[in-house]
């Protein structure tokens, strides 16, 4: 995964608030394109690490390919971002979303792709965005996912992690730890899917038999917030 390694080293955005804060700047300064490049590189690395676990979750109530599909997609995202290096947060997310739609397939491709594309579109062409702006944009992205999939909270889908995560990020004040709160909320949401009965996607065919298993989409969605918290540290 060469794209992921170099994404954090060659920062195309010259503006840096504090050299020791890394290429993304601290949350008070706003998040720049480099921050989002590092985030998506971290997502690609995490998905690569967790691919077997995600596939195993999918085998229990789906068709055993969630991990390998996301790994293919986020590897393509890392490669495309490395080649293109968009200069704004919105452009980084929009390009990543397009790559996912073009490379993943299944339900995950359009759903994750729409999440990132819509979030990127919401961020417009600002060179830096605040945590609150990211939270609001993510909520719009999550709403687009809900609309595309025709699903709601509690259906045992990725929304069960995305909604609490985006809400926590949007609701936090900058003084606290918004990324940590979002991570905790998303992970709690993913854990809670174990008790739910699936109403959408392939797991829904199982009916009651889907209870007692973590939803793999919610589990991979929690990774988005876990990596976001990591790169924000």
């Amino acid at each position: 995964m060469s794209g992921t390694a170099s994404a954090s080293n060659s920062d195309p955005v010259p503006a840096r608030a504090h050299p020791d804060a890394g290429s993304g700047g601290s949350p008070d300064e706003g998040l720049d394109a480099a921050f989002f490049l590092r985030w998506l590189a971290a997502v690609a690395a995490a998905v690569g690490r967790e691919a077997d676990r995600l596939t195993a979750l999918d085998a229990a109530i789906g068709d055993a390919d969630h991990g390998s599909n996301l790994r293919r997609g986020f590897t393509a995202v890392a490669t495309a971002l490395d080649a293109d290096r968009p200069g704004t947060p919105g452009a980084v997310l929009a390009l990543a979303g397009r790559q996912l739609i073009s490379t993943v397939g299944g339900a995950s491709g359009p759903l994750y792709g729409t999440l990132l594309r819509r979030t990127g579109k919401e961020l417009g062409d600002a060179r830096r965005v605040s945590v609150a702006e990211l939270g609001a944009a993510l909520r719009a992205g999550v709403a687009a996912v809900a609309q595309l999939g025709g699903s709601a909270a509690g259906d045992k889908t990725m929304l069960d992690a995305l909604m609490p995560g985006a809400d926590a990020l949007g609701a936090s004040d900058a003084a606290g730890d918004p990324f940590g709160a979002a991570r905790a909320a998303a992970e709690e949401g993913a854990r809670a899917t174990e008790a739910l009965r699936a109403r959408k996607g392939r797991a829904s065919y199982l009916g009651e038999r889907s209870v007692g298993h973590l939803d793999r989409g919610a589990s991979s969605s929690a990774l988005l917030f876990a990596t976001l918290a990591e790169v924000a540290r």
Binding site: D65, N69, S102, T103, G201, Y205
Partner: protein
């Protein structure tokens, strides 16, 4: 498994298809299989696709009288919109394109996105969903009935109509009608193994079978100790007939899941014919074989189509020589030609 590495399973197979079938144009990188003479002037084009692992569906159905193009996804994973847009552009003769989509969340989402993109490029696109499998109840609590064996009937019968020059609306209508009159029920005797997982995707102990299994190994209605071929036929046919009451002679597909030998499938076909005869359902025409498979799964499926609408589905030829062949024809080829000439 007879593979190199899991990541190249689909492209390896596409290279094999390219080498084997000169009548096809295979874009290995773009993952599109197109009949070589496409676009066929004056003809509505049929495009289908879905996850790989169900061969010969769909790539094996590309050719005269069936599909103009097929888009294979990764194993058990829907293809991406780029593939369908590329396929639509390659086969559209100006008469429009019909997407035939099995009802799975991923396939529906990707084909919907492709439909928008293709229409942006000026291609007229219609879409038909195939959802014939009755183990999963069609309710708001699930993603809906799954598309399985009826895909063969839909692609074959709509393909014959398109080949004869029927306009897009008519081909779409026929495809819808065939799907609406078809039901399937499948049984697994063993789980299937995906290349990515390298082993069975679900646990089905020896000596047990899954009744109502999906073509990706999704669980069905219940699990039981092993039954005889005759008992499985009784259960499967009755499950289908509980949901479908044919008034005409039916089309029958006795499908293999991939690893069940034809010797066993024909024995099962005999039992299915026996049950249908006992239930008073005459069979117009039947097929036995591996058409809509699940990798290396052992098992079988029964698909019935209750109301064949066209001569071609009964006699299987491109143009029916007889005015009415078999029992299911609704109109004569000559009338259809005239309609196509005036209406097209």
């Amino acid at each position: 498994m007879l593979i190199n590495v899991p990541d190249t399973v689909v492209t390896d197979a596409l290279r094999g298809m390219a080498a084997t079938h000169p009548e096809l144009t295979v874009d290995v990188e773009g993952r599109v299989i197109v009949r070589r003479d496409a676009p066929v002037a004056g003809k509505v084009a049929l495009v289908s696709g879905g996850g790989s692992g169900h061969e010969p569906l769909h790539g094996g159905f590309v050719g005269t009288g069936m599909l103009d193009a097929a888009c294979p996804g990764e194993v058990f994973t829907s293809p991406v919109p780029d593939q369908m847009v590329k396929a639509a552009a390659a086969v559209d003769s100006g008469q429009g394109v019909l997407f035939m989509v099995k009802n799975y969340t991923g396939d529906v989402l990707n084909f919907d996105m492709a439909m928008e993109l293709a229409e942006d490029e000026g291609v007229r696109v219609a879409k038909v969903l195939v959802d014939d499998e009755i183990a999963v109840t069609d309710s708001t609590h699930t993603a809906g009935r799954r598309g399985t064996g009826a895909t063969l009937f839909v692609e074959k019968i709509a393909g014959a109509a398109a080949e004869e020059g029927a306009p897009l609306e008519r081909v779409e209508g026929i495809a819808r009608q065939v799907n609406a009159s078809s039901r399937s029920f499948g049984v697994a005797l063993s789980a299937c193994s995906t290349p990515a997982k390298g082993g069975p995707t679900f646990a089905l102990p020896n000596g047990e079978l899954e009744l109502g299994v999906g073509i990706h190994g999704e669980p069905g209605r219940e699990r039981r100790p092993m039954m005889t071929s005759g008992e499985i036929a009784d259960f499967s046919v009755d499950a289908v007939l509980a949901d479908l009451r044919p008034t005409n002679p039916v089309l029958l597909l006795v499908g293999g899941a991939g690893a069940t030998p034809l010797l066993e499938l024909y024995g099962f076909a005999a039992e299915v014919h026996r049950v249908l005869a006992e239930r008073g359902v005459p069979v117009l025409r039947s097929l036995v074989g591996n058409y809509v498979t699940s990798l290396d799964m052992a098992g079988c499926a029964v698909t019935l189509c209750a109301r064949p609408t066209r001569s071609c589905c009964a006699c299987g030829t491109r143009r029916c020589a007889r005015p009415r062949c078999g029992g299911g024809c609704s109109s004569r080829p000559r009338q259809r030609r005239r309609r196509a000439a005036t209406g097209g």
